[in-house]
């Protein structure tokens, strides 16, 4: 029972939190532009300047992480793009599991389950879209044709709707869902109990157990 396994390394956890905070800043300062009643907050460009500061952190944090954690990055990218038949089984069984706790149809999962990998893929893709469209709107504002800038805003907003709503789901599952009681621990302290790992990430736990990295 007291056995614990490392789920996320320290650099990964730091990147997660730095990125989350910067994204929340970007989320809120961007949302202001959708709510005319909050327009006064954006007066004199205040929230737009904060949005740019958030953007710098959002872009630079992974750029620092990647060369320092090249192996983990490679593994992560690979995972985001490896999909199989078991993922469809997971998606089918997931609603029953998340609503009623019935796990008998849930296929065993790796270090990230299908839902987590879906979110991870959205983070990668939307992150790239935010960065490219954002940089164009920032630095080509006076030089790019008006139509290009307008479509950049449009694409930026589509990415925002996708990533923003999925972030709500992510925060909900991490903090509030009754079954995900160690997700918070995994990303805050780095370790989860062997029991939780077996139950939620069976495939991954087997690998870890085999390579004898289980700490007691």
């Amino acid at each position: 029972m007291s056995q614990e396994v490392e789920k996320y390394s320290k650099p990964t956890r730091i990147l997660h939190w730095v990125h989350l905070v910067s994204f929340c800043i970007l989320f809120l300062t961007g949302l202001v532009l959708f709510i005319p009643q909050l327009g006064f907050l954006a007066q004199d460009s205040v929230t737009r300047v904060i949005h740019r500061i958030g953007a710098v952190v959002f872009i630079i944090a992974p750029l620092i992480y990647i060369p320092m954690n090249w192996q983990a990055t490679k593994r992560g990218i690979k995972e985001a793009f490896s999909w199989g038949a078991s993922d469809i089984g997971w998606l089918k069984a997931a609603p029953r599991y998340y609503f009623s706790g019935d796990e008998k149809d849930m296929p065993p999962q790796g270090s990230m389950n299908t839902g987590q990998r879906l979110w991870w893929l959205i983070v990668l893709v939307s992150g790239a879209i935010f960065t490219i469209t954002g940089l164009i709107m920032w630095f080509a504002k006076t030089s790019a044709p008006a139509a290009v800038l307008q479509w950049m805003v449009f694409i930026h907003d589509v990415a925002f709707i996708l990533a923003g709503t999925m972030l709500l789901l992510h925060i909900y599952l991490g903090l509030f869902h009754p079954l995900m009681n160690e997700a918070w621990k995994a990303i805050y302290k780095g370790n989860i109990s062997a029991e939780y790992a077996k139950k939620h990430h069976a495939k991954w736990y087997e690998e870890v157990a085999k390579s004898k990295e289980v700490k007691s």
Partner: protein, 272 residues
């Protein structure tokens, strides 16, 4: 009752008194410019130049024509700038103009990109993004509001040839049509009243003696597809998706907690 400005190109001498009156009334500083070999000056609209006369030379059939056009806000009914302004700094005045509360401007520049007439201007710090838009407010700028006083806009007031008139829009449409008719009678077959129906009706209309393209005015101007897709499709969709997500998560929390507590109780009962 909507009001409007009627600009008659055929009466305009391009004296540019309107440009000067606009600067004077709105307390806009002059700009240092260089001689570009034309009377047209300054070269473009700017945050401190809300109105300028455009000069154009053409040679139809070897005969030189010197054309003058007003370059300023057209005060559209279907205004792209009002549609995209996220803080409602741009809004429709009760008399139909596109009025502007500069205090609320966030400097996002969306209006600049959305304007079919390329009118709004701003000075922008490219690094910080800090900016403030400026454009003609049809003399409704708070503190400098001539319209509220029942006066004509400064440009109209100063016009020595009555090329500019300010009145009820209906009256000016009738007046403009009359002018177009008399121009046609005089042999200007393409004479037209620009702005009567464009973008839901402009609140600055032009009497032209030739096709709008001759004056380099956009023929059949439209709100861009990107503006429509963004404002009328994606933003409502975003609110719907966001709202449903929050609702779904709340529902999931209540159902899952109830179910899982029930399971636990069952186990506890079985275990005891």
């Amino acid at each position: 009752m909507a009001k409007a400005i009627l600009y008659d190109t055929t009466k305009c001498t391009a004296c540019r008194a309107c440009q000067v009156a606009c600067k004077g009334w709105n307390e806009l500083p002059a700009e240092v410019t260089t001689n570009r070999g034309t009377y047209e000056n300054p070269a473009d609209l700017s945050p401190t130049t809300w109105l300028k006369m455009k000069f154009r030379e053409i040679e139809p059939g070897g005969k030189v024509r010197w054309l003058f056009t007003r370059r300023s806000c057209m005060h559209c009914t279907d205004a792209g700038c009002v549609k995209v302004c996220p803080s409602k700094a741009l809004y429709h005045h009760e008399l139909g103009f596109v009025a502007y509360n500069k205090d609320l401007c966030t400097g996002c520049g969306y209006c600049i990109e959305a304007c079919p007439f390329d009118v709004p201007r701003s000075d922008r710090n490219l690094l910080t993004g800090i900016a403030k838009m400026d454009k003609c407010t049809l003399c409704t700028t708070p503190g400098l509001d001539r319209i509220a006083e029942g006066w004509e806009p400064a440009c109209v007031k100063t016009c020595p040839t009555n090329a500019l008139q300010y009145d009820d829009r209906d009256k000016l449409v009738a007046e403009g049509r009359k002018r177009v008719d008399s121009l046609r009678d005089a042999g200007w077959a393409n004479a037209n009243l620009y702005g009567e129906n464009e973008l839901g009706g402009l609140h600055v209309m032009y009497v032209l003696d030739d096709h709008p393209s001759v004056y380099e005015l956009p023929v059949n101007p439209q709100i861009s597809a990107a503006t429509v897709a963004w404002q009328d499709a994606i933003q409502p969709l975003g609110w719907a998706v966001g709202g449903l997500t929050v609702l779904g998560l709340g529902l999931n929390y209540m159902v899952a907690r109830a179910n899982i507590n029930r399971e636990k109780e069952k186990k506890d009962v079985a275990g005891s």
